[in-house]
Symmetry: D3
Subunit: 127 residues, 6 copies
């Protein structure tokens, strides 16, 4: 286990442990190296960088995934991650609404659907 992988796992533990475990399990039989790369590069190399705080990093990610509109599962996962590093639900909603300006209303509306599901799943986990 490389140092980068170790650092990535620590970051993932802080940001979004459950989502990574689900991803890792789903890739285990078919593309385990992709799961390793996810821990190493985005989480080990990028999210650990100083120069931008984690909350700002998740704001950037939620915005980008809402705008792209091609990764609803990852958006949901990063909405949960954003809550874990200090975003409020309301701030997440604001980011997504703002994307109507840059990627169109359908992107924003679909982003809100992802947020609704993410919030609901978190409520269910708490119960």
């Amino acid at each position: 286990m490389s140092e980068r992988y170790q650092k990535g796992l620590e970051m993932l533990n802080k940001m979004n442990k459950n989502s990574y475990n689900t991803l890792k399990e789903s890739l285990e039989d078919i593309a385990p190296d992709l799961a390793r790369f996810v821990a190493e590069f985005p989480y080990g190399d990028i999210y650990t960088r100083t120069g931008l705080d984690l909350k700002s990093r998740e704001i950037a990610t939620v915005a980008a995934l809402t705008a792209l509109g091609t990764a609803p599962l990852q958006l949901k996962s990063h909405i949960k991650g954003a809550l874990n590093v200090g975003c409020s639900k309301n701030e997440i909603i604001e980011i997504i609404i703002q994307m109507a300006v840059y990627a169109g209303f359908p992107a924003a509306i679909n982003g809100i659907s992802a947020a609704r599901e993410a919030f609901k799943e978190l409520d269910e986990e708490k119960e």
Copy 2:
């Protein structure tokens, strides 16, 4: 002049006066209403909303435009806007590098090109 337009212009004055004036002039002969809509909806309705600070809003916009990769001029303009509302150059670079994870390395590299040009234009304006 509607109240929304007035509010939008005030926000634009704070965030990115020059870019809006350039846009407005360029649209004057061909689509003046689009310039008005830009002031009214994104700036009058969205950026004025409470619930997310302006710096976070520009982080979201810089991230989204880098990821989409189809609007280099607008990205440059929002990089300047981000600096005007409290982002450091380094924070902007971090946001853009992070987009390699969500939209690929070419998107991040092209985002850095936009940042380089935006920073250079700002340096030239100061001279």
Copy 3:
């Protein structure tokens, strides 16, 4: 209730009342302002503009959403809207097939799936 909102609702009543009501209900608890913005800006500000008839506006929207390929629910809703403002089913099919040229065959094939579902839902509503 602003004049723009009122105008938008009137336009939505003409174009696609059911879809907007569904959207509004789904956003009520989480992002009610986004539903308001949908009525105000696209429907209150844009679709009410003179200079392009409603049928042509829905042709443009069906084409764009088919080409983008990221908003199947909104495409379905606009296919119904297009029928409500004078497009025939056949014209809608033609628009979507044409998108194979500009966005590739998968975009066109997925657009036809949206049309199939939209037509079926309308048939079921009539029964």
Copy 4:
């Protein structure tokens, strides 16, 4: 010369003769078959179909290319084509402004830039 190619050339003569000649010349040395396919499939097979008039077809294309934002040269060419089959300049502007709703404001603003250039080139050709 196949019948489809012949039909495509006739359609191109009506819609946008100059753009196709420029394209054909530019592809002659490197990918002449792509120029042939352009005449055969989009123009020979699609634009000649009954069921949607040419003006509506160009409305769909201008909308889609504005929304995609990745083909400014082709958008310019189809703006000229739209004028040739009965769209007014104002209708084209309306289509493009409307795309702010579905693909974001930057897409609409960049679409207007394409329109400005297309209109200017047509004016210069007339002189």
Copy 5:
């Protein structure tokens, strides 16, 4: 039945007979010409071209559909096609993982999901 259609069907028989039959049936009532165009242009005109072998063509298609991220059903179908023309499962996984570099990690992860489903469907067909 045109010669191009005939050639396309032969190519489809070799590459991905089942997927085309499913597509054709699904389009029969609503857009039969689109099914015909799929046989004629991509399969009759393009895949039959010399100059690039079929395995390389499917590598290109799997890569592009993974990167675009808007056509998971077509990606699944081309993953099966790639296996039919000589790609190994492992090569397909490698292509998809590589797309993390050019279109971001979510695109690659979603591509792997498509591969998992395609492989599973093929296993079930064999049983």
Copy 6:
């Protein structure tokens, strides 16, 4: 200098030395870590993987960048890389033409423009 970086540089030397040097220089003052990441992750981690030969990897990349349409400079650079690892000019043209099917004709036409420029630059370098 990490082992991954070293491996990445060796791969880049084989595939596309000049393009990387140009990139590295352009990022030196503004985002040197992004240049390092390019060497480490795409070239050190991905292109060095066994399981898919380099020629097939460049086919995948040229296809994806043509289809995305947002990274013409990177496409040009990978067209040169493809030639360096065994693709012929004709094979590259075939990959790009094929993208008309999956991403539309404008994407293919713009891809051919990138190829024309890449071929021309290589000819000039040889002189």
